[in-house]
């Protein structure tokens, strides 16, 4: 056995083995195993079960094998195509806004101004409180009769009477996006801020001495330096946003007339709302495949970015 020459990463050799030390691989799996087992039972097994169910017609009554019928229904359903397009539109728009606002917010909070420690604390509540509670606040904001948005709009004469933001297809969709952005921005801002504070001051000083303006320094130093963080945050945000369920569910339950139904809401409505377990599972499998493809494409892109910007 190579026990006696086992080493931690550094490569220290032991000539004498006072005790019988576990092989590194065995010890490592003793440490990783419990977490893996837990994930296996609570995530991997249900995932396998979801795939099995997607070939079934299943409900409260029982299960019947139907082959690819559930998938065929989805492929030929125009409504489902619209849902996919809507989901990606939802994701891209929301993520773009989160990144832009996060970048602006982080830049503002990174500026050497009095009070920035306080401002930093004040942007965090949307992230810290339960998403559902924040949504109750937004539910009220969007209300035509007693929300402040509609109230102010009436006072300014933009609308004649109470305007229900969540009652019309277009306004409901964009309202849900605003709330989703609101939930996501604090975390993005915080990570960008942390990355910006990690950029070496020497770079800025050298550029400043050479007469580079603020905007130039931001574009040529800040952005390239934090690029790896921007890219990894956009993947994280994209996954969160794609899977965003509570916000839409509490604000609109996917309505009005399906205007805010994303894939995740559609899956929930089908499976839990209508007890169509098989059809719901087929949707879930499609979500997993789409997210998997998206992540792969992303990792490829991330690799390129890391090469270009020389991430450590």
């Amino acid at each position: 056995m190579s026990d006696v020459t086992q080493s931690i990463k550094g490569g220290v050799k032991h000539g004498t083995a006072r005790r019988n030390i576990l092989p590194e691989g065995v010890f490592a799996w003793m440490l990783v195993g419990p977490a893996m087992l837990f994930i296996g039972v609570i995530v991997a097994w249900p995932l396998a079960e979801t795939i099995r169910l997607s070939f079934m017609e299943a409900g409260l009554g029982g299960e019947k094998y139907v082959g690819l019928a559930n998938y065929e229904d989805l492929v030929s359903s125009r409504k489902f195509h619209q849902t996919i397009v809507r989901t990606f539109y939802w994701m891209f728009l929301s993520v773009a806004l989160k990144l832009i606002l996060g970048l602006i917010g982080a830049t503002l909070l990174n500026a050497a101004i009095p009070g920035r420690a306080l401002f930093r604390v004040l942007i965090m509540p949307p992230w810290v409180i339960p998403i559902a509670i924040g949504c109750i606040g937004w539910l009220w904001l969007y209300n035509g009769y007693f929300g402040i948005l509609s109230g102010v709009a009436q006072k300014l004469g933009i609308v004649d009477g109470p305007f229900e933001f969540l009652a019309y297809k277009t306004s409901a969709f964009y309202s849900a996006i605003v709330t989703d952005v609101w939930v996501g921005v604090p975390m993005v801002t915080l990570f960008f801020l942390a990355a910006m504070q990690g950029v070496s001051r020497d770079l800025y000083e050298a550029a400043w001495v050479d007469g580079a303006g603020r905007w130039y320094r931001f574009r040529r130093i800040t952005i390239p330096q934090i690029m790896p963080v921007i890219v990894s945050m956009s993947l994280l945000s994209a996954i969160f946003t794609f899977n965003s369920f509570e916000i839409i569910w509490i604000l609109t339950e996917g309505g009005p007339r399906g205007a805010t139904t994303t894939l995740i809401v559609d899956t929930y409505k089908t499976a839990i709302g209508n007890y169509k377990f098989g059809e719901g599972s087929a949707r879930a499998v499609i979500i997993v495949i789409l997210l998997g493809l998206f992540s792969l494409a992303y990792l490829f892109f991330l690799n390129k970015v890391n090469k270009k910007y020389g991430a450590k």
Partner: protein
């Protein structure tokens, strides 16, 4: 010098910060104003921003309207705390293994953990429901704790790993040479050094567990006494006559304890994010 701003630039920055903060805090402001508004105000037209009959009555009445409010607040914190504690028990050893050890299938298994990050519970609700039912966990605290733990383990491993990697190797090597066992080294050398990192990851996991307990609660738990705050309050929204002002008061009071705790911890969190996860 380089960081000096003119008065005009200063004003511009503060103006933008103000707009940013208004966006972030508007819903809280609105909830607070709504909690002061008497119920009969709701459909008064035209819209009134302020009137003299605003009062704090809702804050005393809400305890009767939402009799379990105290319980909901407790449940929320209890569930989030349990999720955090259990998650850390799984995360700490695993993160150490990924940070320090070489073992077969290391990269493949890490990829599996990170892959779990891609799902949310919403995709797996039906089979998850069946798993929890077969374990007899439905309608218990565990129904909300167990899925929470599973979906937070990957994030925890990912965050903690990058911390542990920064702890100097020499100390471990020294302990090793002195004849300490692997487990002893982990417990007595690595963990004490990792305390700041453990706090950051713990807070991050707690926020995740606290912010996202709604879905599991409404799906896996029907016992009213066990509902966390968001699910408990959501139930009232469906009612015929919602006493909105009290609902808003309850929501605000409900998140207060955690906000206060967070106020004390946020410094560590921000410092930790700056030092650890981001700057690889």
């Amino acid at each position: 010098m380089m960081d000096r701003y003119t008065k005009l630039q200063m004003a511009g920055i503060y103006f933008c910060v103000a707009i940013f903060l208004i966006f972030m805090l508007l819903p809280f402001f609105e909830m607070f104003m709504a909690s002061l508004r008497p119920l009969e105000h709701l459909f008064r037209s035209p819209y009134q921003f302020w009137s003299t009959d605003f009062s704090f009555d809702a804050y005393s009445k809400m305890w009767e309207t939402v009799p379990l409010l105290g319980r909901y607040i407790f449940n929320s914190i209890f569930i989030a705390f349990s999720v955090t504690a259990i998650t850390m028990v799984f995360v700490v050893p695993a993160a150490y293994a990924y940070a320090r050890l070489k073992f077969p299938f290391k990269n493949a298994s890490l990829a599996i953990f990170l892959g779990v990050n891609m799902f949310t519970g919403a995709v797996l609700l039906i089979p998850l429901y069946r798993v929890l039912r077969s374990m007899g966990l439905l309608n218990t605290y565990w129904a909300m704790i167990v899925p929470g733990v599973a979906f937070l383990i990957p994030t925890g491993i990912w965050l903690l790993r990058s911390y542990l990697e920064k702890i100097p190797l020499e100390l471990e090597e020294a302990a090793f040479v002195d004849g300490a066992s692997r487990m002893y080294t982990l417990r007595r050398v690595v963990l004490p050094l990792a305390v700041p990192g453990l706090i950051v990851v713990g807070v991050a996991v707690f926020i995740g567990a606290y912010a996202q307990q709604f879905l599991f609660a409404i799906t896996f738990n029907q016992t009213r006494e066990l509902q966390p705050l968001p699910a408990g309050l959501y139930e009232f929204i469906g009612y015929q006559s919602v006493t909105w002002n009290e609902m808003m008061a309850a929501a605000l009071v409900g998140v207060l304890p955690v906000m206060v705790i967070f106020l004390f911890l946020q410094k560590y969190l921000v410092a930790g994010l700056t030092a650890g996860a981001v700057k690889e």
